[in-house]
């Protein structure tokens, strides 16, 4: 390989490679440092995550269009944008991690490298169009997440969440592998380009086989994004996992899974009207169920983590509308929404993570009563996240929701858009519960009186607020560059 080619190759690999190598270095650091010294690991990890954020940004800035990793990795704008999201989610989660972990007495250095591995897995998933690599990225991500979900071994809920996540996740992995096998059997290819051209030409070794394979792949990712009826793990795992991990997982996994779905569906399976109409129908059915059931279930929760978990299910439903729109209409909107979602949902979880102190009902809504009296800025930040999740302008959530809405209407799915509207009305009710509690209730418990907001947590919250607001007021900063993102995803007419 000539020198320049190698450099290009490396450049394209950087977003994937950097967190991987950095994680490895951190992992070496874990046994070398005594437990008391492991806080240094945190500083190193934060620095690394910052760089992980900057790497894709700089690549976006300097222009991309290159391949790497034995031509398996694509370094296209979609991948880079998603990389930014993963690293941002990781960064914000990392910022509150030590505070949280010290409080639950589970400060373990291993979590930092595992976070980096998870970021690596996500980056791999979205940066490739080879099903093999997608599978491996997914597993790198999942395995790391299984572990850090159950990291607080002394808490039953953490371990239980890990167990549920693991069992169901492995189940869905099996489905995914079987799906890949069927698609491979039907097209003799693992790469989406090859699959796509086979789909276009119709030269497949068994159409039902291809479709069944695609169905299983869809199921596997519907599981990851938490679409109904594959959502059952979401609330349990989100509630059980250490909150910073929940934050990271909620934003990162979802973004990664949607990135993959965008690529798989639009690059691989949109060449034939028969095929694409089938998956559009399937995803529409799932989207309707997801939006409605997610919101209805969130409505009846009085634990914040659980409520946000169901809300994330609902948001997955909204995002699916962007997924089934034509790629040039939907892709940019999905990515934008994901970015906003990263900010607001991670922000919200970060705020929640400041609250947890006991195992039983740490995140109960009543803890938030009267937060405004005690911690006005924190309450306002949380209020902004909630309003953004509701879709109130001029916050990012509004822009995201509106563009998705628009995409649905533009692609002719008016019925789905109406369902989305109805669902959003239901959604308003429970997000408001939080605001009502924070602003309109007297402080009930002593939790908020001795609430600590250490500087890193404040930085994380500020970052999330800034992102949410800026993306609402000037989304063109992102939407502009994103408007051409679809060109890199779908290689087919």
């Amino acid at each position: 390989m000539a020198g320049t080619e190698l450099m290009l190759d490396l450049r394209a690999m950087m977003p994937t490679l950097f967190p991987a190598v950095y994680g490895l270095l951190l992992l070496i650091g874990v046994p070398l440092l005594r437990r008391d010294d492991q806080r240094w690991l945190w500083y190193i990890a934060v620095g690394g995550m910052l760089v992980s954020t900057l790497v894709p940004i700089s690549l976006l800035y300097t222009g991309t269009a290159s391949q790497g990793g034995m031509e398996m990795l694509r370094c296209d704008p979609m991948a880079l944008w998603l990389d930014v999201m993963f690293a941002l989610a990781g960064l914000m989660a990392l910022l509150v991690m030590p505070t949280y972990l010290r409080r639950v007495d589970a400060y373990r250095g291993e979590v930092f490298p595992l976070m980096f591995f998870a970021v690596t897995g996500m980056s791999i998933m979205v940066a490739t169009e080879n099903l093999v690599l997608i599978f491996i990225g997914l597993e790198v991500l999942s395995i790391a997440l299984y572990v850090i979900t159950g990291m607080v071994r002394e808490q039953q809920r953490s371990v239980e969440a890990a167990l549920k996540y693991f069992l169901l996740g492995a189940f869905s992995t099996a489905l995914f592998v079987y799906g890949i096998a069927l698609v491979y059997g039907a097209t003799a290819r693992f790469d989406l380009v090859g699959i796509g051209s086979a789909v276009i030409s119709g030269e497949v070794f068994g159409m039902p086989m291809l479709l069944a394979g695609l169905a299983l792949i869809i199921v596997a990712f519907a599981f990851k994004i938490g679409a109904v009826p594959f959502h059952f793990w979401v609330p349990d795992v989100y509630q059980g996992a250490p909150t910073p991990v929940t934050a990271f997982m909620a934003a990162g996994t979802k973004a990664a899974a949607f990135g993959v779905l965008l690529r798989v569906l639009h690059a691989g399976f949109s060449g034939s009207a028969d095929v694409s109409s089938r998956w559009v129908l399937t995803l529409s059915v799932l989207a309707v169920a997801t939006m409605l059931i997610g919101n209805l279930l969130a409505l009846v929760q009085d634990r914040l983590k659980r409520m946000l978990a169901y809300s994330s299910v609902a948001h997955a439903g909204y995002l699916m509308l962007g997924l089934i729109a034509p790629i040039d209409v939907g892709a940019a909107n999905v990515l934008f929404y994901l970015l906003v979602y990263t900010f607001m949902t991670v922000g919200a979880f970060v705020v929640i993570s400041l609250f947890e102190e006991d195992e039983e009902d740490a995140d109960h809504l009543s803890h938030f009563s009267g937060l405004f009296q005690r911690r006005p800025l924190l309450a306002i930040a949380m209020g902004i996240f909630m309003l953004s999740l509701t879709g109130i302008p001029p916050l990012g959530g509004f822009v995201g929701k509106y563009t998705i809405f628009l995409a649905a209407v533009r692609s002719g799915h008016v019925g789905l858009a109406v369902v989305m509207g109805v669902a959003a009305v239901i959604g308003a009710a429970y997000y408001l519960k939080v605001i009502v509690a924070m602003f309109f209730r007297a402080p009930e418990r002593s939790v908020i009186d001795n609430l600590e907001v250490p500087l890193p947590a404040a930085v994380a919250v500020a970052l999330a607020v800034a992102g949410t607001v800026i993306l609402g007021v000037a989304p063109s900063l992102v939407l502009g560059p994103l408007s051409q993102v679809h060109a890199g995803i779908a290689l087919l007419p």
Binding site: E139, Q156, F171, T173, V177
Partner: protein, 107 residues
């Protein structure tokens, strides 16, 4: 539809369903893990059997299906390791691996 690969493919779907049935009905976490292994294996069997039948280099049989199957194998090993560790952690807390007892998180 008249050869060993196809027959193995069909057998794999049967095994896949058997494994799924196990996941749906059993309570022991490790048993479920084993049922998932059956499912993964059947997926691997499907991969190998289709790759055997696909046109390859100078005859039928395409190698990259096997490569994928190998990766699946490695990943299955990793998953098993993590899964067992989680089960052990749960066992330490509850003294049992019965997943029906692990229902602190619900509703």
């Amino acid at each position: 539809m008249t050869d060993a690969p196809s027959a193995a493919l069909l057998l794999s779907s049967l095994l896949f369903a058997v494994g799924a049935f196990g996941v749906l009905t059993r309570r022991g976490a490790i048993t479920i893990l084993m049922c998932i292994e059956i499912m993964l294996n059947s997926a691997n069997l499907a991969l190998i059997s289709v790759s055997r039948a696909l046109p390859g280099n100078g005859g039928s049989g395409l190698v990259d299906g096997q490569v994928m199957a190998l990766f699946v194998l490695a990943i299955a090993a990793a998953e098993a390791a993590v899964g067992l560790a989680i089960v052990i952690a749960l066992f330490r807390l509850k003294g049992s691996t019965d997943i029906d007892l692990a229902r602190l998180l619900k509703w």
